[in-house]
């Protein structure tokens, strides 16, 4: 091998504390190095041209650049050596900026350390092999998991882009949390008026297949070729026959069940269509409360159904969908307010969540849009809003800000005044977080035009007394204790990862944080990608988001899918594991541990062997450290390469 070494000054960033000329000179003593120089900005156009020229002039077959972190410019230099005719993997970097020049001021030590880092890069390069990607075909269908506003947007954009879309929704209707909202901030326009048409578009779009009341059961395959098993839960109603007329709901004798769509502050029937604008508008029987199931006799709905759609013997059904990409848009759930015992949520009926309050405000809610408190149905005059319940609270293990609560609280304060002109709202807050277009103006309106009294401080406790809820807290601006006699207390419950999110993440083989939110590939530059190729994120499943952000992410995820599907063939990253079939004893330890199911057992001349599925392997190398005989090696990070680095460092 003929190795060229380039030591970058990075202006004064490196040269300031590293003697690059000395490092270059020292490099010449290392094996197979035929050329070494220092260079002002290796990544600049002249810098890259210098590398390309040297490759040609000196017949270099491998290049080491010592400069910044490879996480920054490795792709840049790989492209450069490729332009000069080398394989892009015949290249290594030594990080002498972030790991050397920027963290120490001792020029002698830094120079010396840089030589060491160049040396291990050379030793690794000497054991590099040219790698080339392979190509495979893709299935241009996409699955969107979750039919909230983010999922709806992603599905519509993909469908409009000409893709076949499979939309999977856990509930019997799409719409998600947004469908439960009365109005939206900061425009105070009606939530169902702006969401409804989009839901109808989903129903009518010829490219969209909707599986409502369904969940993802299992996922196999890899980017371009996933197989997803979808469990269609039994609805006990044949949806091909159901017309959504609602006759069954009128006659159902079991009427007092907590209505999940109404956040359990209103009753519903055992056979139910959750709300008038539901898509699909089909009935579902809840077998845990239905008399036919619980008592074994009733059958009223079956008698009244004009189309004979009721099927008490229906069972769950699994359908398999083949898709090439998956968008996860599973949204969020609310923090359980009963965990904050001092506020009495769950114990006192008049302490409710913001989402429950939305249902009280909504004209299609259980009170027909009249604010009536749950305990006695009276119209409240004093309403206290408490923010950050389950947000920004380390003691509850919820240190993060849920982001949208400040805004919906301001909206609810405004709506309270609209509904009950002689009412007074109080808002206990920690800080007001309203960084969005027209957002801060909106919270100001709540205070200035609608007279909501904002009190900066935490509430210590809420307790009932003589038909009122006494809210005691601190006013940290006035430095006093305050007590408010409230008729109704609304807790701005924080957002949590959706129930079951970690399980879905494991099926998708994507990471999730300790709170269950899915991990994006890069917090700034890859916000809707994941570390599993072909799986994208939209909306609050990645972290709490308001509607505009969720919609934006839905479109962003769709754009990623459309870009992925713009090619007919995909290239796989060649930095993957490969099996030396002679050394493999077929024990399958790599198969057990592979996080991506990227290794399969094959028969080779009657013997069991492991084989890497190139398109699935993500290149983590867990298999390589698992295999005792070293039969499976991660290309570009082989045992021999790491051993060579170790040996280079341990030579005295």
């Amino acid at each position: 091998m003929r190795i060229g070494v380039f030591i970058c000054h990075c202006g004064s960033n490196i040269e300031g504390t590293v003697d690059t000329a000395t490092v270059a000179k020292a490099s010449l003593d290392f094996p197979e190095v035929v050329y070494a120089t220092d260079t002002m900005y290796a990544c600049s156009e002249p810098g890259q041209d210098g590398i390309i020229q040297a490759i040609k002039d000196k017949n270099l077959t491998g290049v080491v650049v010592a400069s910044c972190t490879p996480r920054m410019h490795e792709p840049t230099f790989r492209r450069a050596v490729e332009r000069a005719g080398l394989n892009r993997y015949m290249f290594e970097m030594a990080n002498i900026r972030e790991h050397v020049s920027w963290i120490g001021k001792d020029r002698e030590a830094n120079t010396n350390k840089s030589v060491d880092l160049v040396r291990i890069a050379i030793e690794k390069l000497r054991r590099d092999a040219p790698l080339s990607p392979s190509k495979f075909s893709i299935n241009k269908r996409v699955m969107v998991i979750g039919g909230g506003v983010a999922g709806i947007q992603a599905a519509l954009d993909c469908a409009d882009g000409g893709l076949q879309v499979v939309l999977v929704e856990r509930e019997s209707s799409i719409g998600g949390k947004m469908a439960k909202l009365d109005k939206t901030f900061p425009t105070v326009d009606c939530s169902s008026c702006i969401l409804g048409p989009k839901m109808v578009d989903v129903a009518q779009h010829e490219n969209i297949t909707l599986h409502a009341y369904s969940e993802v059961d299992a996922i196999g395959g890899y980017v371009g070729n996933f197989q997803v098993q979808v469990k269609k839960k039994a609805t006990y109603v044949d949806w091909t026959l159901c017309t959504g007329c609602g006759a069954c709901m009128e006659k159902c004798p079991s009427k007092k069940n907590p209505d999940r769509f109404n956040e359990k502050i209103g009753p519903c029937t055992s056979i139910n269509i959750p709300f008038p604008q539901a898509i699909p508008k089909k009935a579902v029987i809840d077998p845990t409360t239905c008399r036919q199931f619980v008592k074994g006799k009733c059958g009223v709905c079956a008698k009244v159904c004009p189309t004979g759609a009721i099927k008490y013997d229906m069972a769950d059904e699994i359908v398999t969908e083949d898709v090439g990409a998956i968008v996860a848009a599973t949204g969020y759930d609310l923090f359980d307010i009963s965990k904050v015992t001092e506020y009495g949520g769950g114990r006192y009926p008049d302490v409710i969540t913001g989402l429950q309050y939305e249902r009280l405000l909504s004209a299609s809610g259980p009170t027909g849009g009249h604010i009536k408190r749950p305990s006695d149905g009276k119209e409240p005059k004093n309403v206290v809003f408490i923010q950050c319940v389950g947000s920004r609270d380390k003691s509850l293990d919820r240190p993060y800000c849920s982001g949208f609560c400040c805004m919906y609280t301001a909206k609810q304060a405004i709506l309270t005044k609209d509904h009950i002109p002689d009412s007074q709202s109080y808002v206990f807050y920690m800080d007001i977080r309203s960084p969005g277009k027209m957002y801060d103006e909106f919270t100001r309106r709540a205070m200035e035009e609608y007279g909501a009294r904002y009190i900066r401080g935490r509430v210590a406790m809420v307790y009932p007394k003589d038909g009122k809820m006494i809210v005691r807290g601190a006013d940290t601006l006035a430095g006093t204790q305050v007590e408010v006699e409230a008729d109704l207390v609304v807790l701005a419950a924080g957002a949590e990862a959706a129930v079951g999110a970690p399980k879905l993440a494991e099926k998708l083989r994507i990471s999730y944080d300790k709170y269950g939110f899915f991990m994006e590939s890069h917090p700034k530059l890859k916000p809707v990608e994941t570390n599993t190729a072909g799986v994208y994120l939209a909306g609050s499943c990645q972290g709490p988001k308001d509607i505009p952000q969720s919609v934006g992410q839905g479109s962003a995820a769709a754009a990623k899918v459309l870009a992925l599907f713009s090619k007919d063939m995909l290239e796989s990253d060649p930095q993957i594991s490969r099996v030396d079939i002679k050394r493999c004893v077929g024990c399958g330890k790599c198969i057990i541990t592979c996080p991506f199911k990227a290794i399969k057992e094959v028969e080779f001349r009657g013997q069991k062997k492991a084989e890497v599925i190139e398109t699935v392997c993500q290149g983590c190398g867990l298999c390589t450290s698992t295999c005792p005989q070293g039969a499976i090696q991660l290309s570009h990070f082989t045992d021999n390469q790491i051993l060579a680095e170790v040996n280079a460092l341990c030579q005295s």
Binding site: D116, R509, I510
Partner: protein, 163 residues
């Protein structure tokens, strides 16, 4: 000129590319000053780190080895660090029976955003290795000790009194 004699000790780091290597980058970007002893070997995932690499590094004369990966649950590859945690803990407990001070090896978790944590880890670990001093070398055991080993006279407390 591998280490600056009298100033540095030989400390080798194995860092996963996605979290800890990025954390070390973040520390650099933030100019969080650190001792210069550590040399970092980049690997894709802490799960790639065969404990034998660490044993080999220490047996071959390194004074310290530091491994760092993504925090549990944050692994770029979903599970690699969970396997690594088990394997590295087993190794840490194994080293002393070979005659290697377990303080010469540590593993930890540092995310790409935790530049300050990385600075602290490197500083504390380097101090820890300097406190232990240069590692006794397997190929430089004293004749006196070898004679004791041959006579089956180790572990009688004699050496520890002398030390």
């Amino acid at each position: 000129m591998p280490v600056l004699t009298g100033k540095e000790l030989r400390i080798v780091g194995f860092l996963c590319n996605w979290c800890s290597y990025g954390g070390a980058d973040t520390a650099g970007v933030g100019r969080f000053g650190q001792p210069t002893d550590l040399r970092i070997i980049r690997v894709p995932c802490s799960g790639r780190i065969d404990p034998l690499f660490i044993a080999k590094t220490l047996i071959n004369g390194a004074d310290g080895v530091l491994v760092s990966g993504c925090h549990p649950r944050d692994c770029h590859y979903a599970e690699g660090n969970f396997y690594a945690r088990r394997r590295l803990e087993v190794l840490k407990r194994f080293l002393p029976i070979l005659g290697i001070d377990p303080g010469r090896f540590d593993y930890t978790w540092v995310s790409a955003s935790e530049g300050q944590r990385w600075q602290k880890v490197v500083t504390v670990f380097t101090e820890q290795i300097h406190a232990l001093g240069p590692a006794p070398r397997f190929d430089a055991v004293s004749a006196d000790m070898l004679a004791k080993a041959a006579a089956g006279a180790l572990g009688q407390g004699g050496n520890r009194v002398a030390a």
